[in-house]
C-alpha cells in the first residue's frame, strides 16, 4: 500500500469521511477522477505526474455533496483553488480533508487553511514556460496582430463550455451565458458570440483564477484560454499587488479599492 492509500484508508477507518475524490488509472492509459466511498476501493488510488485534473471542481457538484464529508487528493493548483473558494465563502475550515501532494509527489494530510497556506508557500512552482513564452510572444505583437491572433483562436470555439465546466471557480448557479433576458452572450457559435463569451469568462475570473490551466487542457479545439486569465492576473499583480489562491482571507481585488489606486488613464 502506498503512503497515499494509507492516509486515505485511515480517513475511512476513522469514519472521518464518506467520499474520497482522487485519481486512478483509466481504461485509455490516462488518469481520471475516482470517487471512493468505501475503503475497499482504495487500492485503485494513485498519483503521478499525469494526474492534472483539478478535483476541487467537484466540491460544488450537488450529487457529490450529498455523500457527506469529503476528502480530496490535491496538488498545488487544487490547494490554491481551495483557498480561493474559501476566500469567497464557499468552503469553511474543516468542511473537507485535503491530501496534498507536494512537488516530489509525497502526500500529506492537511486539515485547516493555515496548513494549506504554509504548504503553498513552501511548494511554489514556476508557471509552465510554454505559457509564459506564448504570453510574451502575444504581448510583443502589434495590436492588429494580437486581434488577428485572438479572432482566429476564438473562431474555433464551438461553445461546448468545457472551459466553464472544468473550472473550480466557475460555480455560479446561473452563468451569464445562461441568462437570456437580456441575451448578454449570443448562443450561437459566431465571431461576436465567441468573443463575448471569452471576454466575459476572463473578466469574471480576473483576480480569481489560480492558474491550474484546466480550461486550456479541456478545450477540444486548443484555444489557449489560460493566457487570458494569466494576463489579467499579471495586470492585477502590477496594479494592486494581489495574487489569488495564496490566503484564505484573500480579498477579491475587484470588490474593494484603495484611495491611492492609479488613475493616470482617467481624464
Amino acid at each position: 500500500m502506498t503512503e497515499l492509500q494509507n492516509i486515505a484508508k485511515k480517513l475511512f477507518d476513522d469514519g472521518s469521511i464518506n467520499l474520497l475524490i482522487g485519481y486512478s488509472n483509466n481504461e485509455n492509459g490516462g488518469t481520471s477522477a475516482i470517487f471512493i466511498d468505501n475503503s475497499a476501493d482504495i487500492d485503485k488510488l494513485i498519483y503521478n505526474e499525469n494526474c492534472h485534473q483539478n478535483l476541487m471542481v467537484y466540491f460544488q457538484k450537488p450529487e457529490v455533496k450529498k455523500f457527506g464529508k469529503l476528502a480530496f487528493v490535491v496538488s498545488l493548483p487544487g490547494l490554491k483553488s481551495v483557498l480561493e473558494i474559501a476566500s469567497e465563502n464557499q468552503i469553511k475550515d474543516g468542511d473537507a480533508y485535503f491530501i496534498a501532494i507536494d512537488k516530489d509527489g509525497n502526500p500529506s494530510l492537511l486539515q485547516d487553511f493555515h496548513q494549506i497556506e504554509d504548504f503553498i508557500t513552501n511548494n511554489q512552482t514556476k508557471p509552465p514556460m510554454g505559457l509564459l513564452k506564448l504570453m510574451e510572444k502575444i504581448n510583443n505583437m502589434t495590436r492588429e496582430e494580437r486581434w488577428q491572433y485572438w479572432t482566429d483562436e476564438f473562431s474555433k470555439c464551438i461553445k461546448c463550455y468545457a472551459c466553464r465546466s472544468v473550472c473550480p471557480l466557475c460555480y455560479c448557479t446561473q452563468c451569464i451565458t445562461d441568462i437570456n433576458i437580456p441575451q448578454w452572450i449570443s448562443t450561437e457559435s459566431s465571431p461576436i458570440g465567441n468573443l463575448d463569451w471569452h471576454i466575459a469568462r476572463a473578466m469574471h475570473l480576473a483576480g480569481r483564477c489560480i492558474g491550474c490551466g484546466e480550461c486550456m487542457k479541456a478545450c477540444p479545439v486548443d484555444i489557449p484560454l489560460a493566457l487570458l486569465t494569466a494576463n489579467l492576473n499579471k495586470s492585477i499583480a502590477i496594479h494592486f499587488g494581489d495574487e489569488p489562491g495564496m490566503k484564505a482571507d484573500y480579498k477579491y481585488p475587484l470588490s474593494h479599492y484603495k484611495l491611492e489606486d492609479k488613475e493616470n488613464f482617467i481624464r
Binding site: R143, S155, I158, S186, S190, M203, Y257, F265, I266
Partner: protein, 152 residues
C-alpha cells in the same frame, strides 16, 4: 464619400456626469453631436458587458464617466469602477481591441465645459482612429455557405 462620423456612446453616472452634461446644455455650450448618452445610477453599475454591447451595436468609441474620487453619491462606486476599468483596459489591449476607443473620465455636475471638451476631444480622436472596423468585420449572423459549415 462623406467624411466618417464616429458614433460615440457615453455611459455616465446619474449624479455627476449626467448633471454635468445637462449643465453643458443649459449653459448653451456647443459640442459635437456624435454622442449618445446612457444614464446609469453609478459608474459602479457600468458592467464591461455593456461596453462590449455598445461596440457590437456599432459604436466607434465609448465614453465612461462619473463622479470624481470622493464625490460618489454611493461613497465608493467610482473607486470600484476605477479598478475594474484598469483591468478591463488591459484585457482589451491583450486581445487587440484598441483601448483608446474607450475614454474614461471624471466629470462633476459643475463641469459642463469639461464635458463639452471631453466629447469634442473624443470625437476628434475617434475620427482619427477611423471606424471600429474590427467589430464590424465580425459578421454576427452565421452563414450557410458550405465550407464555412465546418468551424474554421
Amino acid at each position: 464619400m462623406s467624411e466618417f462620423e464616429p458614433k460615440i456612446v457615453a455611459f455616465v453616472c446619474n449624479w455627476c456626469t449626467y448633471a454635468g452634461a445637462d449643465l453643458a446644455g443649459t449653459s448653451r455650450i456647443k459640442y459635437a453631436q456624435n454622442v449618445r448618452i446612457v444614464r446609469f445610477p453609478c459608474t459602479g453599475r457600468i458592467d464591461f458587458m455593456l461596453l462590449l454591447k455598445a461596440f457590437e451595436e456599432g459604436a466607434d468609441g465609448i465614453i465612461v464617466s462619473g463622479c470624481h474620487p470622493a464625490d460618489c453619491h454611493y461613497t465608493s462606486g467610482n473607486y470600484h469602477a476605477r479598478r475594474r476599468w484598469m483591468v478591463f483596459k488591459d484585457l482589451l489591449d491583450f486581445i487587440g481591441i484598441d483601448s483608446r476607443r474607450i475614454v474614461f473620465s471624471w466629470v462633476s455636475a459643475a463641469e459642463g465645459a469639461k464635458w463639452a471638451h471631453l466629447v469634442n476631444d473624443t470625437v476628434s480622436e475617434i475620427r482619427n482612429l477611423g471606424p471600429m472596423k474590427e467589430y464590424k468585420n465580425l459578421e454576427n449572423v452565421s452563414s450557410n455557405k458550405i465550407g464555412e459549415l465546418i468551424n474554421d
